[in-house]
């Protein structure tokens, strides 16, 4: 099971993952919290939510966040996938989830998730991470907090340079 690091109150900590990633081929496991593909969510999400389960959706990099917009208030997690670290669409997906759709639940980075992108991810609104590079919570936090200043407004609400100067 991959490590899960969560950001809460400005601190990064390794936590137990309550959610089980369920692929489209898996039988539905008898657990309280699942993360499903968008297709499986559209087929089975209603029933699972009605049964009191916590449900998350895994959004692939070629899937539009707009397709989730009506369901967002009911979702505990949106797991945004990095098929390769170079595929930067997830940064836009996370930004839109936070800034355009006002999503307050967990936005989790899954897939090819490595430390050098921690700062970018946090700025775009990710608050949970499944590192694929073996990073510890401590290493992840250090990388994410590397820069004392930032130059643009982003989903994390940090004051950019021009506000610090004002």
């Amino acid at each position: 099971m991959p490590t899960l690091i969560k950001l809460a109150g400005g601190a990064f900590a390794q936590v137990e993952d309550d959610f089980v990633h369920v692929t489209d081929e898996d039988d539905a496991p008898n657990v309280d919290a699942v993360i499903l593909s968008l297709a499986r969510f559209q087929a089975e999400g209603e029933a699972l939510l009605a049964a009191g389960r916590k449900v998350g959706v895994r959004l692939e990099s070629d899937q539009a966040v707009e397709d989730l917009s009506y369901d967002l208030p009911r979702l505990s997690v949106v797991a945004v996938a990095f098929p390769k670290f170079r595929d930067g669409r997830a940064f836009t997906s996370a930004t839109l989830l936070r800034e355009r759709f006002g999503y307050r639940g967990e936005v989790r980075a899954v897939g090819d998730v490595f430390r050098e992108q921690a700062g970018f991810m946090v700025r775009c609104g990710f608050d949970a991470f499944e590192p694929s590079d073996g990073s510890t919570a401590d290493e992840w936090g250090k990388a994410a907090k590397r820069f004392r200043h930032v130059y643009q407004r982003a989903a994390d609400g940090r004051a950019p340079a021009f506000e610090e100067r004002a």
Binding site: G88, F91, T92, R100, F120, F147, F162, R165
Partner: protein
Amino acid sequence: MYLYDALDKEFLADRSAEFRGQVARRLAGELSEDQFKPLRLMNGLYLQLHAYMLRVAIPYGSLNVVQARRLADIARRYDKGYGHFTTRQNIQFNWIKLADAPDILDQLAEVDLHAIQTSGNCIRNVTADPYAGATAEEVDDPRVWSEVIRQWSTLHPEFSFLPRKFKIAITAAPRDRTAARVHDIGLVARRDRDGTLGFEVIVGGGQGRTPYVGPTIKEHLPAGRLLSYLQAVLRVYNRYGRRDNIYKARIKILVAALGAEEFARQVEEEWGKIDAARADLPDTELARIRGAFATTPFETLPATSAIFEANKAADPAFARFVRNNVKPHKKSGYAIVEVSLKAIGHTPGDATADQLEVAADLAERYSLNDLRVTHAQNLVLPHVKLDDLPVVHAALQKAGLATANIDLASDIIACPGLDYCALANARAIPVAQHIAQKFADADHAEKVGELKIKISGCINACGHHHVAHIGVLGVDKKGEEFYQLSLGGSGAEDASIAQILGPALPADKVAEAVDTLVDKYLSVREGDERFLDTFRRVGMAPFKEAVYADAH
């Protein structure tokens, strides 16, 4: 000019520390070359044929004297005593040891220089008119907007892993010295009838395998809305640009596939959803940045200079230099001086450490501490008094920097080619040297007039051959270097893509063929037509006939 404050400096220090840690992990074997590659590329460190190459950003091609001296120092201490200026106004050091790279970045950071976004699939270091703040042509100072974009794009959280690299050029003059129309985004500042500043936004130009002159997707973007509009363009590109094929991943391919109109519609739709109050730069910050460029301490001078006129009359070499390398300044009594890095027989764009120091000294004494880099791989002293031109010229002559060939046939743009680059099919530098030799006679070169020759060692087109009046492209034919010539391109305000002349030629025939093309031009030109104008009037046939006549 803009000076980094404590905040900008702390940012660079953090960046340098991050890279030092990454190099340490690589040298200790904790990172494989595969894992390290994207990290070093994010800091401008490439692995070339013979060594690492470090590309240092020169934001909008503007250097102060301390920075220029530091570059000279680095060339001497860590390279073989020279650096290479690029078509994106940056400088490359070609002989770097990996273990030295963190120290070099520290030393750059001390003088507010860095290698951020000189590589990788991010918004690259923005380029601008090298005559900014000096030419009377401009409707605003493009450095203001370049600095706005520099800050906004620096480690942009959403746009640092785009489908492919992303290049922005800005000019505020009708004469385009930035090749704005062959950039991912070209911004041309204009004032409308009531004086309101705006940008013509050109998106999806480019070179490489599929050259395009970019279409204009917005005629007059209000200047204050620049950042939100850029955000919209970049977001549409980041979401929908192709990622399945590196050769089809630039924004030009998306714009061409959708059509400029549909692409513009998608951008407008996204732009409409962006909260302008959050995305656009506050007026106070814009005013702070603008203020930094408004303090050039010009003196009030007469429009003419007796010393200048006397030297021009007495010294033919100086007069030639003035004709070709000295351009009008917006302030009376001043001139813009181009310093050619295209001495006949030398590598285009290379400057030795000694030459960099001479340029820095001259900038300090005679050009208000300001030195620029042009996209044509030359330097500019932007603010020289007419009175000082003779002494500046003499100092440049002594340093081998007074070649009077700006925009003439020997002012050749060339990529590093197979002498350095792992991607190249053929050498570019020796071809440039052979062609330049044909125009070593300065009278002949002046008679030929403006002629932009550009050479790329492979289809990636770093030498801009697609937008050359005469373009030269190196190709590999069964292990032998061949060169394909093309005619009629332009990267300027009259941008066009060059057309292929005919079958590729062996290396030893290229300079001869260029000579033949020029002879043909001289025999058919009318009035003061440039080579490009003549080509556009008479077409390809006479030139093709001239070069390939022997083969008939």
